[in-house]
């Protein structure tokens, strides 16, 4: 009985606090996905050597309460034929729980394609996240992209967020830089209860020998995305846990990708 009292004394304030902080029913929705793919098609006369590899994770959950996951995957794709060669690598990792999610991707490609032949190669990463909260919720967003330059091909990074109020930046993209560089965005934004907060980031490397003739390049593109729920003021520890909880509770109705 004594233990129960102690337990009650610990739990009751938390329940009260959570009721105050997230009043109303927990109706959340959480979606998360990260996918990578690389395709190489080396053509020489009537000969075609093709290689394709992809991998990905996608989650759609009604509640994140007590749930979380993390993982990583790597795949390499390579083709070499008659003087042409292409190597493409994707290294991706992810983590999510009630506090939010993060995803990291490193893409690397080395090409020596063409010489009159219609060869091509692509390397792509897509990161997607969606959260619906049952109360107005503050969220931290961090995006960082580093890229090498590209010559004779396509290098692009695309970033977009939806469902936040008055965010100063809702989208950005780079396309075909000849030099190396980066961009980094960090914002604290408000997501209103019931609104679907969405984040989409894509990284793309592509070479097409038909368009560019002989295409030789070594290209790197890395992407990091971190989205975290800001715990309610003064609500450390358990309240942060409940923040995660709230993050997961989405209203399913009317939410679409």
């Amino acid at each position: 009985m004594k233990n129960f009292r102690v337990f009650g004394a610990l739990v009751l304030p938390v329940l009260l606090a959570s009721g105050a902080a997230f009043g109303g029913g927990p109706q959340n929705l959480f979606e998360f996905g990260i996918g990578t793919g690389s395709w190489i098609d080396v053509v020489d006369g009537g000969f075609v050597d093709e290689s394709y590899r992809d991998d990905g994770v996608y989650r759609e959950l009604d509640s994140l309460f007590g749930l979380g996951d993390s993982g990583s995957f790597i795949h390499n794709t390579g083709v070499e034929f008659n003087g042409q060669s292409a190597l493409s690598t994707n290294d991706a990792s992810y983590m999510y729980d009630e506090s939010g999610f993060e995803a990291h991707s490193v893409q690397h490609a080395a090409f020596r394609l063409g010489s009159g032949h219609n060869s091509g190669a692509e390397n792509q990463t897509q990161i997607y996240g969606l959260m619906v909260f049952d109360v107005d919720t503050t969220v931290d967003i961090f995006v960082r992209v580093d890229y090498s330059g590209v010559s004779g091909g396509t290098l692009g990074s695309y970033f977009e967020i939806n469902g936040v109020e008055d965010a100063p930046i809702t989208g950005f993209e780079i396309e075909d830089p000849s030099g190396a560089g980066f961009y980094e965005i960090a914002m604290r934004v408000e997501v209103l209860a019931g609104d679907a907060f969405e984040l989409y980031v894509e990284g793309y490397i592509g070479l097409d020998a038909e368009e560019y003739g002989e295409a030789n390049a070594m290209v790197d593109l890395s992407t990091s995305v971190i989205v975290s729920v800001v715990p309610a003021p003064g609500g450390a520890g358990l309240l942060a846990g409940f923040g995660l909880l709230a993050a997961r509770r989405r209203r399913g109705a009317g939410v679409s990708r």
């Binding site: 993209e173 030099g179 971190i226």
Partner: protein, 250 residues
């Protein structure tokens, strides 16, 4: 701004100044300024305070391209229980390797007695034109820090044009109820004999027409750096930025 960040930027700028001393900058023009304005109406009375300052210099061929400016402007008013202030601190340094510009404004306002219009604003601008004797690889870095405001208007941008093969640029921040920062940087080639233009601005305004009354305080900062990449392998600014970003990552 975080002191460490200032330190890193200063270090990067110093590195730029020291490492690219013999780079191929041919001609350079820089201009920068800040202005502050605060205005209060109360019954039949009003009070206004304004301050502005600007610098501009053209460096022809054969110059050493070296200059350093630091200036402050501010405006403060108080009337009938209302008050507003803004203070801008700006620095601009140039040498043969490029230039670095930073401007920060701190401002606060407690304005508005129903039906009476009061305003406070601060604006910073920076323009540069540069030309090189030969095709020259340069690094461009920009950063904007901002704080949220529901009752003021803010925008900021930094755009460089004329470089060869630069990525698409669309990263400007508009009206913000969020806090945060954005920054970017890249390395690109400035073609010989062509003018390269850089324009950067940051602006903030509080007006009781946006909401009445207004109670707000905050700050925002704009930094932009251009430097010649010493041959071979100039890692100065980008290395500094790398440290910066690493520090901000989890």
């Amino acid at each position: 701004m975080n002191p460490l960040y200032r330190f890193l930027i200063a270090g990067a700028a110093f590195g730029a100044a020291s490492s690219g001393a013999h780079a191929g900058l041919s001609e350079l023009y820089v201009a920068a300024g800040s202005s502050n304005h605060s205005y209060i109406e109360y019954e039949k009375d009003s009070q206004r305070d304004a301050d502005s300052d600007s610098y501009g210099q053209f460096f022809p061929k054969g110059s050493d391209f070296t200059s350093n400016w630091a200036w402050e402007t501010d405006a403060m008013v108080s009337l009938g229980g209302q008050g507003a202030y803004s203070k801008s601190v700006s620095t601009l340094g140039t040498d043969s390797s490029g230039f670095a510009y930073t401007s920060t404004v701190d401002f606060g306002a407690d304005l508005g007695s129903s039906g009476i219009r009061s305003t406070s604003s601060a604006a910073h601008h920076f323009d540069a034109q540069m030309m090189f004797d030969s095709d020259t690889e340069i690094e461009f870095f920009y950063r904007v820090d901002f704080e949220p405001s529901d009752t003021s208007f803010q925008y900021a941008f930094a755009v460089i044009s004329g470089l060869r093969g630069t990525p698409t640029q669309g990263l400007d921040a508009g009206d913000s109820s969020s806090s945060g920062y954005y920054m970017g940087g890249y390395r690109a080639v400035a073609p010989a004999g062509e003018w390269i233009y850089l324009e950067a601005q940051i602006f903030g305004e509080t007006d009781t027409d946006y909401g009445n009354p207004v109670q707000y305080s905050g700050s925002y900062t704009l930094t932009t750096i251009v430097r010649v990449v010493p041959a071979p392998g100039g890692l100065g600014v980008l290395a500094g930025i790398g440290l910066l970003s690493a520090r901000r990552r989890r």
